[in-house]
């Protein structure tokens, strides 16, 4: 009975946040622990979906759509293609962890503790006590404001150009790296 009253006392925002957090963290744990590479990729998509839900609780609907398009639609599919290309090394019998698992676990937990201590000291700030109602101009025109800030020379026009050149260069570099080269095949050099 007390559990029922607890459930009914939750606001819709809390319900969405909790469900999206459970999806995000649970799927992330599946990614890190699962032996099957393909299942890990599917869990990664679920984790991205949970993050998109969190964006929606933060009134960032456009970013949630971009998350769905770019992460779930493009990056996850790219990872699945890479899994298919390198499929032969998926022996289930071997341990999924590398040779430095003990040291790696220690470093990860130590880093987590350092971050947690720093954040716990910072908590208690009064400025973030409750979610402030965002001014309607900022919220309802978020897409327009984002677009303007990308072309405004006083805002993010230069980083926008730099990032697009970076993306172009990275994609050309990726094609160059993955391009099959018969010339450096040692068997052909000997022939």
């Amino acid at each position: 009975m007390t559990f029922l009253t607890f459930l009914t006392s939750l606001t819709s925002e809390q319900v969405v946040f909790i469900l999206a957090s459970i999806l995000t963290i649970g799927a992330a744990l599946v990614v890190v622990t699962n032996r099957n590479l393909f299942h890990a990729a599917l869990a990664l998509m679920a984790s991205f979906l949970g993050v998109a839900g969190i964006y929606i609780t933060l009134d960032a609907g456009f970013l949630a759509a971009a998350q769905l398009l770019v992460y779930i639609g493009a990056i996850s599919i790219l990872i699945i293609f890479a899994i298919m290309v390198t499929r032969r090394m998926m022996q289930v019998s071997e341990s999924p962890f590398n040779s430095q698992r003990g040291l790696g676990f220690f470093v990860a937990v130590a880093g987590f503790l350092i971050v947690a201590v720093v954040i716990l000291q910072w908590f208690g700030g009064e400025a973030f006590a409750a979610k402030p109602p965002v001014a309607p101009a900022v919220l309802s025109n978020a897409v327009a404001a984002l677009g303007v800030s990308f072309v405004n020379p006083n805002a993010f026009a230069l980083p926008f150009i730099v990032i697009s050149i970076l993306l172009l260069a990275a994609l050309i570099g990726a094609i160059y790296i993955a391009w099959p080269r018969q010339r450096i095949d040692p068997a052909e050099d000997e022939a």
């Binding site: 925002e13 969190i54 971009a66 999924p96 590398n98 973030f128």
Partner: protein
């Protein structure tokens, strides 16, 4: 139940970052490493969006777009490297990729 404050988002982000760093440091498969790096970038994005919301400022969301772009570039180059390494070594086990070890 207290209302949803920024501490909730910070806690979620830190937990997601911890899981991602565990994946990078513990797993053997290079593709899992890339997935974990994407998760860590996602946790940083989460923090950007949360602070943008609580400060009522859109600049955090703009930065998230830049992070998404860099993540796309990174995963494209990284997966191309994995494919190239797999072609020469027939393995993407990071314990066996030790060509540049001193």
């Amino acid at each position: 139940m207290p209302p949803v404050t920024i501490e909730w988002y910070v806690a979620l982000s830190v937990i997601l970052f911890l899981i991602g760093s565990m994946g990078v440091l513990l797993r053997r498969n290079a593709i899992i490493l890339f997935m974990s790096i994407e998760m860590m970038l996602n946790s940083a994005n989460l923090l950007f969006v949360a602070f943008a919301r609580y400060l009522g400022d859109l600049d955090g969301q703009v930065l998230v777009f830049f992070v998404i772009t860099v993540a796309a570039a990174e995963v494209a180059v990284g997966l191309a490297l994995i494919v190239a390494i797999f072609r020469t070594k027939h393995s993407i086990n990071i314990d066996e990729i030790n060509l540049m070890k001193g």
